[in-house]
Amino acid sequence: MSGFNKVVDSYSDAMKGLEDGMTIIAGGFGLCGIPEGLITQIKAMGTTGLTVVSNNCGVDDFGLGILLEDKQIKKMISSYVGENALFEQQLLNGELEVELTPQGTLAEKMRAGGAGIPAFYTATGYGTPVGEGKEVKEFNGRPYIMEESITGDFAIVKAWKADPFGNCVYRHTAQNFNPMAATAGKITVVEVEEIVQPGELDPAHIHTPGIYVNRVIKGDFEKRIERRVLAKNEETA
């Protein structure tokens, strides 16, 4: 076990080695499945000049949005942003750079990065502003653009359960970008709701094998809901 025990006891150990100017790949979709405690730790560390790769950038006072408060983020690579006023303000001031990337391309950039594939061709974005300046190649008569993969100095991931080996399972749609993020970090840190005993997770049901994971920390999650919408009575009758 010893060399395979990935569990760390403090957030400072979890994010040890994070430096100014590094690239962080973050799991999560909106506020769903985000590593809340790791983000709070990055804020506490005050690290700046960060490039953050994440589908979204949280909201004003929660999720990755809190890293905007002290201008820690230099650049966001995302598919959909601007749910937060501070984001808009820093973007318009030129304090923050954004590289808008189609959602499927973003997921594939992380997946390919983690799998050692430097680039891939996709039809997504051909003929649009996303395709400008990118290599075009035809396959079977259809044009595709080349997209380069992404890796990060750190990946920050939220899982439901992990064992000390770093084997992870995700819960419901809190999975989203987390499995790809987990593969794409030089140092991958997973914040979980529960650390279970070795052998408790069925090996055939592991979402993220522990080989991708360097550190595991048990977190406490608020799990804020961005848009709470309830069924109308007649729908459930």
Partner: protein
């Protein structure tokens, strides 16, 4: 009379076939889920990683870990599956999703679509729209035929930055159902009480009008 948003959604839902996997965009497309015809089952794909999206939850069912692509709380139906974003877009890009319905600002006679960016306004991003238009087998665009000032949204060439090229073949508007063929819009149905003349007037791109253009049947 021009169709209401719900009537457009009703007409969209008539296109669903039993056993279709369907991705519905935000707005009018989402409403189509309410009008799936009797005897037809479709499974809704939500690109954040859910196939088999159900209704909104009751208070007791609300779960922060169960959301849709619009970040709203949802439930899953029996037979649903949940997966990663890469898996979700493999389905979309690989052409496994049968049907995609999405909104647009503009569509042109070459099947180009602009739906994500208005220069000068805050750009929030394309989300999954570019992947959907590039990957889906069968795409229907729903929108109003003209904007609030009466300017046509069916153009000879899109003026706004594109979401995808040569990918749209069918459009359902508040006035008409149209195909795109050989560099022209082809009028196939008109909304009840709407004349061919009105549709011609509000279609800026080349419009082909067959001899017989039936009225839509809206249940």
């Amino acid at each position: 009379m021009a169709l209401t948003r719900d009537q457009i959604a009703m007409r969209v839902a008539q296109e669903f076939k039993d056993g279709d996997y369907v991705n519905l965009g935000i707005g009018i497309p989402t409403l189509a889920a309410n009008y799936v015809p009797e005897g037809i089952s479709v499974m809704l794909q939500s690109e954040n990683g859910l196939l088999g999206m159900g209704r909104y939850p009751t208070e007791d069912e609300v779960d922060a870990d169960m959301i849709n692509a619009g970040k709203e709380t949802v439930t899953a139906i029996t037979g649903a599956s949940i997966f990663s974003s890469a898996e979700s877009f493999a389905m979309i890009r690989g052409g496994h999703v049968d049907f995609t319905v999405l909104g647009a600002f503009e569509v042109d006679v070459n099947g180009n679509i602009a739906s994500w960016m208005i220069p000068g306004k805050l750009i929030k991003g394309m989300g999954g729209a570019m992947d959907l238009v590039a990957g889906a087998k069968n795409i229907i665009v729903t929108m109003t035929h003209a904007d609030k000032k009466g300017n046509s949204k069916l153009l000879p060439a899109c003026t706004l930055p594109l979401t995808g090229v040569n990918c749209i073949t069918r459009i359902i508007t508040d006035l008409a159902v149209l195909k795109i063929e050989d560099g022209a819009f082809v009028l196939t149905e008109r909304a009840p009480g709407v004349t061919v003349e009105e549709i011609k007037e509000k279609t800026a791109g080349k419009l082909v009008v067959p001899d017989n253009v039936p009225e839509m049947v809206i249940a």
